[in-house]
């Protein structure tokens, strides 16, 4: 796992924004899987004419678990469209596309220069399944966030005002799922979906409860995560995703989160104005302005690219709406007392007004949010586009002229609904290194990731220093994972295994006495079979929590 080889990369321009290195030609030395100050002997990679980045970190993606597997099964037509990965001596077989198979997910991420991913939505009930798939996702290190904002045991505790106990339950849940963070999806809305309803207003009671509102759930979870000292803040998919006029909900949510840390997932889907689909418009300027003023928040773009994909989310009510809008296939999963899930294959079309607005909003947020350390490159894979299309977004961010070319493909009336044509900002290589690696690593609280300082994990991506940005970032010359050369000249050379990143927040052991009877009463699974055993995690790396601040 941790390479014991020595290696140095010489002559490349190094972009290591976490350490203030901006395109200086300097050596990067590797020994025993970590970056070191200097190294004697070993292989030398001549990186003249190339740029050296810390390995990419994806803060929000969906690459493993029951929902993803359901999506894979639902779209055989996508598998047929895509070229299969044929087995070779160093590589297993599989298929790419919107929902690549587990092994191919690892190869494709590494093939972009990404070395760490965060699977953003794991029900505790299917955490075992998720970890089994993550185990089969090679090369990259894996973290995952466990879904809690519609967990009925937790909602009952919030209803009763027992936040202290809720904290212990949440901590127990995290450890039971062997998770790294806490995810909240449409707080209260997925619970409401079980009644055929949704929770759009932050301050209206969730169906089935008297006092629980989405706002209470969000505040309680954000506080719990901070009190537990988790390295990654509450990972929040806000209420009212995808709907025209939802920006007001997002603004309210930002205000609500004052005083706590939070990561707002796929902000693109939460920045729309207008009253209905016909009048939908971008409100990214308002969202960015408010976001800029909230240093306690980070976010990721959730950008959309035109083309075929499949949408997967725990947000069941939204997916039912999307199914009704598209008439396409629809999958719905109900995860007992915890969450739900919906799956709808989707095509984003340039000439579709709504899709054009979505495409623009993702880029606008990336350009309007001033601090690249707080917004990260994602497509909410596979919802906005598959992750292997990130280089296309990088090109759009770095090249305003190219952006203007692409704008010509939109319907003219779409241009009145967006602000993208007015934005001239162009990302620098250093800023790209921030939004793809240094920033998300920091937001995840992974001190050993996202930089090339001494002691960091030797996860390194080396690209050609070329004007053709999309080509450059799609085809790294070299990728190192834990000091091992995994990609060389576009070929997979070695498939190392990745680590499983998790946390063990502290909780009172006797909280199990509270959960067990509830569990035995309401779940179909036996309580003792519920927690994920440590043996299931491949190369576990238990990251420290800060001292709890009760």
């Amino acid at each position: 796992l941790q390479g014991n080889s020595k290696l140095q990369i010489t002559g490349g321009k190094v972009y290591d924004p976490a350490n203030g290195v901006n395109g200086e030609v300097r050596e990067v030395c590797v020994c025993d899987g970590r970056i070191v100050a200097e190294v004697e002997g070993g292989r030398t990679i001549d990186a003249q004419g190339m740029v050296v980045f810390p390995g990419g970190v994806d803060v929000h993606t969906h690459v493993a678990g029951a929902a993803l597997n359901f999506a894979r099964a639902m779209i055989p037509e996508d598998h047929r469209r895509n070229v299969p990965f044929v087995r070779t001596p160093v590589r297993r077989g599989g298929i790419g596309g919107a929902t690549p198979t587990t092994y191919v997910t690892g190869y494709l991420y590494a093939g972009l220069g990404y070395t760490t991913v965060n699977e953003a939505a794991v029900p505790i009930l299917s955490a075992k399944h998720t970890h089994e798939e993550l185990r089969d996702t090679p090369i990259v290190d894996k973290a995952c966030c466990v879904l809690m904002a519609n967990n009925e045991i937790l909602l009952d505790l919030i209803e009763a005002g027992e936040l202290e106990r809720a904290r212990h339950v949440a901590a127990w849940n995290i450890w039971a799922a062997k998770a790294y963070g806490v995810k909240a999806v449409n707080p209260g809305g997925v619970a409401a979906w079980k009644w055929g309803k949704d929770a759009k207003g932050l301050y209206e009671p969730v169906p089935g409860y008297g006092k629980v509102t989405p706002a209470k759930i969000i505040s309680a979870l954000a506080r719990i995560v901070d009190e537990l000292g988790l390295p990654h803040p509450l990972h929040l998919h806000c209420n009212h995703l995808g709907a025209p006029g939802n920006f007001t909900t997002t603004l309210e949510t930002m205000k609500l989160l004052e005083g706590n840390r939070a990561h707002l997932a796929h902000l693109q889907y939460h920045a729309y104005g207008g009253d209905d689909w016909a009048t939908m418009r971008s409100e990214s300027a308002r969202i960015a302005e408010e976001f800029n003023a909230h240093p306690n928040l980070t976010t990721d773009a959730g950008a959309v690219l035109f083309g075929n994909t499949v949408t997967i989310t725990a947000d069941g009510p939204w997916q039912h709406l999307l199914y009704e809008l598209t008439g396409r296939k629809w999958g719905n999963l109900d995860v007992e007392n915890e969450t739900g899930c919906g799956i709808v294959p989707y095509v984003y079309k340039e000439k579709n007004l709504v899709n054009a607005v979505q495409w623009a909003v993702g880029l606008e947020l990336l350009l309007l949010i001033k601090d690249p350390w707080r917004i990260f490159l994602t497509t909410d894979h596979p919802n906005g586009a598959a992750f292997w299309r990130y280089p296309e977004i990088i090109q759009l961010l770095m090249d305003a002229a190219f952006r203007r070319e692409q704008l010509k493909k939109l319907a003219p009336r779409a241009l009145k609904r967006i602000v993208l044509p007015e934005l001239d900002r162009e990302y620098t290589l250093s800023e790209i290194a921030v939004i793809t690696s240094a920033g998300p690593a920091r937001a995840l609280g992974l001190a050993q990731k996202g930089h090339l300082g001494v002691g960091a994990d030797a996860d390194v991506a080396v690209y050609n220093d070329s004007k053709d940005v999309a080509q450059t970032f799609a085809h790294p010359r070299y990728v190192l994972k834990g000091g091992e050369v995994v990609i060389e000249e576009g070929e997979i050379r070695k498939t190392v295994e990745g680590k499983g990143l998790l946390v063990r927040p502290s909780y009172e052991e006797k909280i199990e006495e509270f959960i067990r009877p509830l569990f035995q009463q309401y779940y179909t699974m036996s309580f003792d079979n519920y927690p994920v055993e440590m043996e299931r995690i491949e190369h576990p790396d238990v990251r420290p929590c800060k001292q709890p601040t009760p």
Binding site: P76, E77, D78, R328
Partner: protein, 306 residues
């Protein structure tokens, strides 16, 4: 004009995947190159000559002789030229083809002409299921072209088809025109159950009475003008369908209302001696038994499904 003739040495025991057997692939090749074309048996790749005697090379026309019932994917995606099979042909024949013609003297298997967009497939024997259909998961099946079958056919023919014509002389099995979105299916020898289930648009013409699902409703009895054009076109291809008012008329049923869909099933009602079955004496709704073929004990129009 040169052509390539292939003679199957002996039928393979397991399916042989031979998508190289297409005029697009073979036309520019010399004899040795044709012999070396890759085919896949199980998980192993072989040369074409391991299974076929190869005569000639190149040309827009390809002849295949022998029982190629286990040879899959012939004519896949072809755009031009012709394939003439003397014998049987295997699954996926002419799948995704865009142009050209395929003729088979014997029987063929499932999925022929699946997702094709143009060209002609003519089968003198019988065919399996999913003719001109959409592959699993796809939104639409054949989107143009013509498939003519002299014998019978299996289940789900024309499943999710969008354009084009499928005509079958013999009987077809369940679910003809399943989830059909457009195009035309001509059934000359009847069909089993659930014809047109979930159809959204498109036309199914039947020259014999059909057991219709309860989600189809009777609209009228008439002689659609467009069928004159179809009849002429099919006549040229050797399939004659009645269309003249003096010979009879079509009962039009619309559905599938469970989707809800705007498809139509046209059931031929030949002119019979005696009282006009769709005349002034109450029309076909009142005479459904008669309308369905005038047999002494006609099948019920809305049978118990299954």
């Amino acid at each position: 004009m040169s052509k390539t003739i292939l003679r199957l040495r002996e039928p393979p025991h397991v399916p042989l995947e031979a998508e190289c057997l297409s005029p697009d692939v073979i036309a520019p090749l010399g004899h040795d190159e044709v012999r070396a074309l890759p085919v896949v048996l199980g998980k192993r790749q072989y040369r074409l000559e391991d299974f076929f005697e190869v005569e000639g090379a190149g040309g827009e026309e390809l002849e295949v002789h022998g029982d190629a019932g286990r040879v899959k994917w012939m004519g896949r995606g072809m755009t031009r030229g012709g394939i003439r099979v003397t014998g049987n042909a295997g699954m996926h024949l002419g799948a995704s083809m865009k142009g050209g013609a395929i003729e088979v003297s014997g029987n063929v298997s499932d999925w022929i002409g699946a997702e094709m967009t143009g060209g002609l497939i003519r089968i003198h024997g019988s065919a399996g299921g999913q003719i001109g259909a959409a592959y699993r998961g796809s939104l639409s099946g054949m989107n143009g072209g013509t498939i003519l079958i002299d014998g019978s056919a299996g289940i789900e023919i024309g499943m999710r088809m969008k354009r084009g014509i499928i005509a079958v002389r013999g009987a077809v099995r369940d679910f003809a025109g399943l989830q059909m979105k457009g195009g035309t299916i001509v059934l000359m020898g009847g069909a089993e159950f659930r014809t047109g289930a979930w159809m959204i648009r498109g036309t199914i013409v039947s020259l014999t009475p059909l057991q219709l699902m309860p989600t189809f409703s009777y609209a009228c009895t008439y002689n659609p003008t467009f069928l004159n054009l179809y009849a002429k076109q099919l006549q040229r291809l050797g399939f004659s369908i009645p269309h003249k008012a003096q010979e009879g008329a079509y009962q039009r049923f619309t559905g599938d209302t469970s989707v809800p869909g705007k498809g139509e099933i046209l059931v031929w009602q030949p002119q019979t001696a005696g009282p006009d079955p769709w005349g002034a004496d109450g029309g076909p709704l009142a005479e459904r038994g008669d309308a369905l073929g005038g047999e002494p004990d006609p099948p019920p129009l809305f049978p118990a499904i299954g």
